[in-house]
Symmetry: C2
């Protein structure tokens, strides 16, 4: 791995549960020597990707990230467009809704909304990258992605996150075909053993699939009727998002 | 400059006017050789900081930035807190308002709102880092920052952006003292020859100054009464932002 990747990957250790990380914790997390880790931290901080807490000296994600989000959103306002759609979807279904965008061969969450309408709610960690083969969002994207990405995933050594994760390429290939016909995907406890989710793909102005909208339900609440209602809301929201992004939805 | 900084600084070439940059344009902008530039681009893309347009192969800022903004905002919701305050300030004054956060010895814009209430409006580029000595936001921050940062700026070789930029350390030192007493700053065509701006500092829960709110007015419209009205709205907004960030405003 190159130096740049080593430094950038350090940013992925931050999460809602771990908003601050000190030097020695970074050494432990990365398994690299202290001098190297420190050098990387200094460069990330100098460029505003990290900032140091004035008292504890622990690092947290820095203001440059907010600025770059502003720059990206000015020309490519995906987050601004998806935000009200995801919020509406969460309110309409009473369940956790999220949007994620394709980043290489994983999905990167961009926004989620939690209506907190029930005593039990799916916990969503926006820091976690979503694998394509094990999530409903990933299946929705794979079904409409180009052959290159599909081939890459189907020929990879697929990780089993739960007993329900599809790791057999033939089974996965069949599921992808089904999603391609129905226009939305379903994933039952394949990434998290307690969560059932559904997703629909979203497309940009070039009609390339760029990500997915998803609604995640605690498996205990995933009754057929509720899932049907959610699927209807989800496909309507994905069509609306695609329209707002200047894309057109494929004929199914 | 280290490899990591070289790569990260490439992200700063993106702006509203330049949302996509191709390989050869990056070579020209950085003045580095093509092989090095390409290697940096590949690593930035692999980590989701850049994405390549499927047809043109030009690069634009990638989805990892949106995800990291989500992670930062979950624990440190500065953008979410400042957004409605900046929007309200713009609506109330009818002028462009923005918030920026301290990043090393410059300010990094995080959000701006443009009410488009007049035929002539300040153009704000959220990609541009704001120098401390030449902007009202910078003066507001310098006035309440620790002695280390102030000393660093006062001993630096200060760039003149216009004929009005203060480059003399003694004059700058005096201005900083004034701002420290009044609690808000004023900058007349010192960064952009056509823009007058005012700013007030904002503080976080540790009572450290973290950035500033500012309202920028085309110099042709910067009459005394308008500036007084803006100053009142600005200081109220900065106090409100500081309260929402868990900080307390210093006694002036």
């Amino acid at each position: 791995m190159g130096t740049i990747s080593k430094a950038l990957e350090m940013l992925n250790y931050f999460s809602r549960k771990r908003p601050e990380i000190g030097l020695s914790e970074f050494v432990r997390l990365t398994g690299r020597d202290k001098a190297t880790v420190h050098r990387h931290l200094v460069e990330l901080e100098k460029n505003g990707f990290l900032e140091q807490h004035p008292a504890s000296r622990a690092y947290r994600l820095g203001p440059a990230i907010l600025r770059l989000t502003g720059v990206r959103e000015a020309s490519n306002p995906v987050r601004r467009i998806l935000r009200p759609i995801v919020t509406g979807l969460a309110e309409q279904t009473g369940e956790l809704a999220h949007a994620s965008l394709l980043q290489g061969n994983v999905l990167s969450p961009v926004f989620h909304a939690d209506p907190l309408a029930h005593g039990v709610q799916v916990h969503f960690d926006e820091a976690e990258l979503l694998p394509l083969h094990a999530t409903s969002s990933g299946l929705a994207v794979l079904a409409f992605a180009g052959p290159k990405l599909r081939k890459q995933i189907l020929s990879a050594d697929l990780q089993a996150f739960t007993a329900n994760t599809i790791v057999d390429p033939d089974t996965l290939s069949m599921r992808i075909e089904e999603v391609r016909h129905s226009g939305f995907s379903y994933s039952d406890r394949a990434f998290d053993g307690e969560v059932t989710s559904q997703a629909a793909p979203i497309f940009d102005e070039t009609s390339e699939v760029i990500g997915a909208l998803s609604v995640a339900v605690p498996a205990v609440r995933a009754h057929e009727e509720r899932l049907r209602t959610i699927a209807t809301a989800l496909t309507a929201a994905a069509r609306s998002a695609t329209r707002s992004l200047g894309g057109s939805y494929p004929e199914l």
